[in-house]
Symmetry: C2
Subunit: 213 residues, 2 copies
């Protein structure tokens, strides 16, 4: 594979890890940070074993054809403004617009259909389920020896136990993903499934699995 010149904006967990792995693959990596001489950044550079360096954003970006944006979202706009002209460069956006309590997206959903349903069906124990993959995979959930997951979420423990059994009844692997408000993440996951199936015309024989170890 080709050897690339990559500017990694941000030397935190994501940026540091990508830089280390990319350098080990032979790419030239330059961190773009506010203080290239800080102990923390110099330690990150040392971990690249001669295959990397650090500079201010505009300098790191000027010599790169690829830029990986790995700063916390609240710093993203400043980091881009400090990077100079990126026209024609590949910019990999690794950010997520997380709220500071890690419970939501600041660009994103503050509600879901499931929560709306719960407001309409007052007193019912609402569980979100069976929404993330097409129904053609229900009762037909084997993928080369792997079982597709049936994600579900809700706020009532007993109701979730019952729904878990109903998910097993259609051959899916039940995966409890937490409170009903997490339907905010399951409904967009459904959109990913739908987009691949219909907008990108890849058919309906795909599903998701949460890997654990």
């Amino acid at each position: 594979m080709a050897q690339r010149n990559i500017a990694v904006l941000g030397a935190g967990n994501v940026g540091g890890t990508l830089a280390r792995l990319w350098a080990a693959q032979g790419h030239t990596v330059r961190f773009g940070v506010r203080d290239p001489q800080s102990d923390k950044v110099q330690e990150m550079v040392a971990a690249l074993r001669g295959k990397g360096s650090a500079a201010q954003n505009h300098e790191a970006v000027a010599s790169a054809d690829i830029v990986a944006l790995c700063v916390p979202w609240p710093n993203a706009e400043d980091a881009i403004r400090a990077s100079g002209n990126m026209a024609g460069k590949i910019l990999i956006d690794c950010t997520n617009p997380l709220s500071s309590d890690l419970k939501g997206l600041t660009i994103g959903l503050a509600t879901s259909a499931a929560e709306q349903v719960a407001r309409w069906a007052r007193g019912a124990q609402v569980v979100k389920a069976f929404n993330t993959i097409g129904a053609g995979n229900f009762g037909n959930a084997e993928f080369g020896g792997l079982r597709a997951d049936g994600f579900y979420c809700g706020d009532d423990r007993d109701a979730k136990k019952v729904v878990r059994e109903l998910i097993e009844d259609v051959g899916l692997e039940p995966v409890d993903v937490g409170p009903l408000s997490n339907a905010r993440w399951l409904e967009p996951l459904a959109m990913l499934w739908i987009d691949l199936a219909f907008n990108q015309k890849q058919g309906t024989n795909h599903a998701f699995k949460l890997l654990r170890r």
Copy 2:
């Protein structure tokens, strides 16, 4: 497993499939629909082989302890209003609030951090990547013989080819999920990962895989 009385609201693709599979598992299923005598509904009932029936919503729901909401989202509020009191019942919400063109959610995201980044970094070829799972899984992406996926999306074909190689370089299985606007679905997927890891304290050793066959 326990035998359940289930009302399935809606006799379309999702409701019809769930009803058929649940009836085959010994559950009693009753469709809740506007016209229980219609040919289409009667055909669905026949497929349940004596283990099901159809009625108006309020009647189907009255005799059930579990209700599965399987109508299109624009009909959801009416279907719930027509169902009478559901207090104390388990309500499984299988809906997605899809826009009529299947390209978005009507309760949901109309933009993403990636699209904002593209507006800030004018002229750059922005690719969303490396955002859906924790960086601890980069370079360490094997899960019992399965390789965690590295989802990416963007609007520039050549830029995506380059980023694909960089994803392979960190040991992830690259999965192209389409245009940059699909970051609207990858950023919430990251929230699902984050919520399991931090809010639900399950640690960081999990990742996603798109199964295909």
